[in-house]
């Protein structure tokens, strides 16, 4: 069980800036006009042209069979590029990789689905594209349908599906691929909590079955609970490779120390998504350290595509990913603005009196009608001791919430 499943050596991917943004393709005219300049440039000093950048550079690692490897990093760190190279969708510019086993990749839920086709037709189409033969799909059709919970709608066109059903069916096909290697990108960014639990469960099952899983996610809780080993990519380079908890912890302290504590997320397809969030003090200034009794204020910005009702929930988590506090806008009777466009919100949580240490915050925006959720995870913060509250050191293993109890002496027991 100690054989290499994936070996990545010095892999790099260079993009031209102009082509990754608005105009990826060129016209012949442009090309002809640029020809003299390009020729001249190739005689130049060999310096890297300003309009090129490395999305990934000199990344090397090895994965053993049956290992579940998490990949984390900020937006644009090269996580998706790495997965695209390993799934053979794009070519590396330098270096290379060797994969031993059939590769199943899920870079988007519902790859190859067409809204006009029925659920059944889409299962076969998507299955074929992911590398399943018709026979294999036939053999697993019942399982796939049961996992996706779409039995009744199997012969209905997918355009009539709710977004939840669509997601479940898309994931179900990929989850039942029988490949030795599974590459999964950010499938947990959308979908309701039940769907996310199902996905994580299915991936854990795959790993138990001896399959190698490479899992990219912003959901640090899921990465932490699923992956024993984590890679942290930073600006295209491998910053850290080690035990899950350790790497996540290092990543979180880095994320919150830079960029004024603002955490941003990539825009997935969905009714709405949180674009950025930041912890601040009472006055709205970004902060990453709070005293035990201090009010915790979070500002977030979100984008609504499909107008409707939304609830925003926030959750404080401990470093081992166990939830500590959870509150929702619904509980407070607050109506989250749901008109199309960008909105900003602030939530204030009164002093929680948490024990000193590192914690992190997770925000989730849920579309009421469909239950589809977008979450922004990993907004880390530090709680510092409030010596006015308690002067003795408070070790974390002793407790989670600090409360000063009132003490009273009772009359001695009667003999």
């Amino acid at each position: 069980m100690n054989e290499t499943s994936i070996r990545v050596e010095q892999v790099g991917k260079r993009y031209r800036l102009g082509r990754t943004q608005t105009a990826r393709y060129r016209t012949l005219r442009e090309e002809l006009l640029q020809l003299p300049r390009r020729l001249l440039a190739s005689f130049g000093s060999g310096a890297e042209p300003a309009d090129e950048f490395w999305a990934l550079r000199d990344v090397s690692f090895e994965v053993k069979r049956g290992e579940v490897l998490g990949v984390i990093g900020r937006n644009g760190a090269g996580k998706s590029t790495l997965l695209k190279i390993l799934s053979r969708i794009v070519d590396p510019t330098s270096g290379g990789a060797d994969l031993y086993g059939r590769i199943g990749s899920l870079l988007e839920v519902g790859t190859g689905f067409h809204p006009e086709l029925t659920g059944r037709e889409n299962i076969y189409l998507s299955g074929a594209m992911l590398g399943m033969s018709r026979r294999e799909v036939n053999a697993r059709l019942d399982e796939i349908v049961a996992f996706a919970e779409v039995e009744k709608f199997l012969d209905t066109a997918c355009k009539h599906y709710s977004s939840g059903m669509y997601l479940r069916l898309g994931f179900a096909v990929a989850a039942h691929l029988n490949t030795e290697i599974l590459l999964v990108d950010e499938v947990l960014a959308v979908g309701d909590a039940a769907f996310q639990r199902k996905c994580v469960g299915k991936m854990a099952e795959a790993a138990d079955g001896g399959r190698t899983v490479l899992f990219v996610s912003h959901n640090l809780g899921a990465v932490g609970s699923l992956c024993s080993r984590v890679l942290w990519l930073d600006q295209g380079r491998l910053r850290r490779d080690g035990p899950g908890r350790e790497v996540i912890e290092a990543y979180l302290s880095d994320v919150t120390s830079g960029a004024g504590g603002v955490v941003t997320a990539a825009a997935p397809a969905g009714p709405a998504w949180i674009t950025s969030a930041c912890l601040t003090d009472r006055g709205g200034l970004p902060r990453q350290a709070f005293s035990m009794t201090e009010l915790l204020r979070v500002e977030c910005e979100y984008q609504v595509e499909q107008p409707g009702g939304f609830t925003l929930s926030l959750q404080v988590k401990e470093f081992d990913f166990s939830p500590v506090v959870h509150c929702t806008s619904g509980d407070a009777g607050f109506a989250v603005p749901g008109a199309a466009g960008r909105h900003r919100l602030a939530a204030e949580v009164p002093g929680l009196q948490l024990y000193p240490g590192r914690y992190w915050l997770r925000l989730a925006l849920t579309h009421t009608a469909t239950g589809v959720q977008h979450e922004l995870d990993g907004i880390g913060f530090q709680v510092e001791q409030d010596f006015a509250l308690c002067s003795r050191p408070l070790p974390r293993q002793a407790g989670l919430f600090y409360r000063a109890a009132t003490w009273a002496m009772l009359p001695p027991p009667s003999p």
Partner: protein, 278 residues
């Protein structure tokens, strides 16, 4: 999970030099070809109330219009056949050729989302588009059969030529489409040039007129258009007879072979950069 067979080894390196056709891989992914073609065909008939009627109507109406304008008003010669049959026999195979070019030429750009999210040999995309065009052709052949029966024309043994001509047309069209679709990813100019090319090519080919319209001394040069041989061949196969038809097919066969093989090699060489350029 079986442990007895060693897992396949996938090597990922920057693409350099010619990569070959890797036919084994194409075969491995044959289900994708079938599913994509089936999807295209289903989509075509699913949301239209008249469905197959459109496929019948399109060439039929075009044939009737040409028959009235060129056959009746302009009085173009039709080699002794009823002009409707004459023009329809040419139009049929022309529609197959142009249909493949149109569908397959833009197919990669149309499937951009797929290409950026999942791996399979990209060559299958234009091929699936061509397969869908072939189904339309089969339907129009049915219309042709009815027209022939109506006029009491029976081509006899000449009919055996039909699959040969069809295959040549398909090979030629797919070959050209491979070049165009791959170039279209990089230079979108091809998307705009294609309809123009198709239109000009149609009038440069004997679809609505017969070869006898071309002055004798130009005919040799004219025959370098591979569509000349194909259309003449198709007429011979469906209407029976014709002179020197087999020699006519030599140029299309040669052209189809060259274009298909070179197109496939070129496509396989550049297909790995598609996701970066779409």
């Amino acid at each position: 999970m079986t442990v007895d067979t060693p897992p396949p080894h996938v090597r990922i390196r920057p693409a350099r030099g010619w990569l070959g056709l890797r036919l084994g891989e194409l075969w491995e992914y044959r289900d994708v070809l079938v599913m994509l073609a089936a999807r295209d065909i289903k989509l075509r008939y699913k949301q239209t109330a008249l469905g197959i009627v459109w496929v019948v109507l399109q060439p039929l109406v075009a044939g009737l219009i040409f028959a009235v304008i060129f056959g009746r008003f302009a009085g173009l010669p039709s080699g002794g056949h009823p002009y409707l049959l004459f023009v329809f026999a040419g139009l049929l195979v022309w529609h197959l050729f142009a249909g493949v070019l149109q569908r397959a030429g833009n197919s990669l750009v149309a499937e951009a989302k797929l290409i950026s999210k999942v791996y399979f040999p990209r060559l299958l995309i234009p091929c699936a588009a061509a397969a869908a065009a072939l189904v339309d052709y089969a339907v129009s052949l049915g219309v042709m059969a009815v027209l022939l029966a109506w006029h009491g024309v029976w081509p006899g043994w000449w009919l055996a030529l039909l699959p040969v001509v069809t295959l040549l047309t398909l090979a030629l069209a797919v070959g050209i489409s491979l070049w165009i679709s791959a170039l279209n990813v990089r230079y979108r100019d091809f998307m705009y040039a294609l309809p123009f090319l198709i239109q000009v090519w149609m009038y440069a080919s004997p679809v609505v007129y017969g070869l006898e319209m071309i002055p004798e001394r130009w005919r040799g040069l004219f025959a370098f258009n591979p569509l000349v041989g194909i259309i003449e061949g198709n007429r011979a196969a469906l209407l029976g007879g014709g002179d020197a038809v087999l020699s006519h097919l030599l140029i299309p066969a040669l052209a189809a072979g060259v274009v298909l093989v070179s197109g496939a090699y070129f496509f396989r060489r550049v297909e790995r950069s598609f996701a970066d350029n779409l």
